[in-house]
Amino acid sequence: MPTTAPEITLSARKLTRSFGSQPVIHDLSLQLRRGEVLGLLGHNGAGKSTTLQMLTGCLLPDNARKNGCSIEICGIDLLRHPALAKSHIGYLPETPPLYRELSVNDYLIFAARLRGMGSAAAREALQQARLRCGLESVGNKIIGTLSKGYQQRVGIAQAIIHRPAVIVLDEPTVGLDPSQIREIRGLIRELGNNSSVILSTHLLSEVESVCDRVEIMQHGRLIYGDTSARMQQYGQVSGFTISLRNPPPPEELQAIPGINRVDQLSAGQFRILYDADNNPSAALLTLAEQRGWQLQQLTPLQATLEDVFVRITDAETAATGETR
């Protein structure tokens, strides 16, 4: 069976951007293959939205065409042939770009035709997009009267209706309730099967659940890029919280081999930290049963984005220190 790497749909090289004298993006390069979901992870103000705006042609990079700066969509140069390249992009900005006075159907047809679809093709695409985004029941409603969750879905439908090769989503799940978030994440995974998706987020869990690959951004630079599975190693903390209905004094927990530290959070809740190579949960469970502590809950600790950042930057400084 011949295995060829999927084609590269988006390739950006050496993007730099500043607003006034304030540099926002430094020398950023990205590549994306078909069938890949890339998560752009970073704090607010890290430059995620600016990067996505440049990738979609809404914002020109500084001194475009100089210093090897280029953006290619499906092999077409976005800076030289914007009209050709842009028909392969679907873009959902931070605020969905909705004409609130139009009906969902009218708006989506407009979005499809704007990207160069014919009138008949646009109608067919409308059915598909409404089905995929769960908009079957609201086709004739005015967008302004829809709830925030539905508006966000219309925004996503607008970005995928013309079946673009590259789908750019800027914080697609902000402001949605948990069940909607789950639906949207499922949709993004599905989109990733035949297009490339790049999405920005500041939620670690979002990256873990939908992305194949992660690029972490800080102060306008990509500081780390890897598969999301490997990034999760950084996200793991050797610890858990437990709730006991009949808790012993903390000293008793502390005595279990492997446990480094016990913090009492409330009467029956403890946070337990242990050595990375010595997980005491089995020992703890046996003890809990023997002594009748009545274990109710055992949750592994989740690292915050902050923790991951600190670890990655620490790892980097350590690595550069070694090479010196």
Partner: protein, 247 residues
């Protein structure tokens, strides 16, 4: 693509109650004015008949009404143009147009044509009202058509100016006040300039409408409107393009 954007602009205009209200109120005011003019004409008709070369019904009623429309449009067009780009920017819908395969030229021309078509409907409604006079008397079609052509050109120049001002800001209300200030400013400078050859006369769109209003098709006036419109449309395209550079 230009047609598509123009169509979207019209669609949005007709989806908003405010445009219907404006259309209705304006039509009401114009009808009132029209009837008042008609009454005045009927009252003085006997005296007019004694003159050697009396002004006809078209000159007395239609031309006066068109002059009023021209003045009203000056106040009204900024209310419509303010939304064109400023509101897209404020609602962040501009990103949709910017990330679509469109040039700044297509965006600006589409919006211009959409609003112009809408205002042309408003002018057409006035024309229909005037043509009801044809039921009772003979109308001077030449004078009427010259007035309508003048109104269309005048509206185009107003829309182009308003579109440019709208592209400068992201606050629709500032765009409205800005465009109104420029238009009223040009008009006041025109009527305030006493000297016959003052340059202010040549700059004011309303002054160039006067020949059309009198039934005189002057290519110089038509050229002024085309240049005025084209100039501000080009500036607007430039500004929309710069949006990509300055964010």
């Amino acid at each position: 693509m230009i047609r598509l954007i123009a169509w979207r602009e019209l669609r949005s205009l007709f989806a908003m109650p405010s445009s219907w209200v404006v259309l209705a109120v304006l039509q009401f005011i114009l009808a009132w004015f029209f009837l008042a003019q008609l009454q005045a004409f009927l009252d003085i008709q006997p005296q007019l008949a004694q003159l050697a070369n009396p002004p006809g019904v078209t000159a007395t009623i239609a031309a006066t009404l068109c002059n009023t429309v021209a003045l009203l449009l000056m106040m009204l067009v900024p209310m419509f143009t303010m939304r064109l780009i400023a509101e897209e920017r404020r609602n962040q819908t501009l990103a949709l147009l910017m990330s679509a395969p469109l040039s700044s030229r297509q965006i600006v021309l589409g919006k211009f044509l959409g609003l112009w078509a809408f205002l042309a409907m408003l002018i057409a409604a006035t024309a229909l009202m005037l043509y009801t006079l044809a039921l009772g008397t003979h109308l001077d079609n030449g004078l009427l058509l010259s007035n309508l052509a003048g109104l269309l050109l005048l509206t185009a120049s107003y829309v182009a100016l308003g579109l440019y001002v709208s592209s400068l800001t992201n606050q629709p209300i500032i765009a409205a006040i800005g465009a109104l200030a420029v238009l009223v400013g040009l008009w006041l400078a025109d009527i305030g300039a006493a000297a016959e050859n003052s340059p202010w006369h040549t700059l004011s769109p309303l002054n160039h409408f006067q020949n059309f209003n009198a039934g005189l098709l002057d290519s110089g006036d038509a050229a002024f409107f085309v240049l005025f419109t084209g100039f501000f449309l080009l500036l607007a395209m430039r500004r929309v393009h710069n949006n990509r550079i300055y964010g």
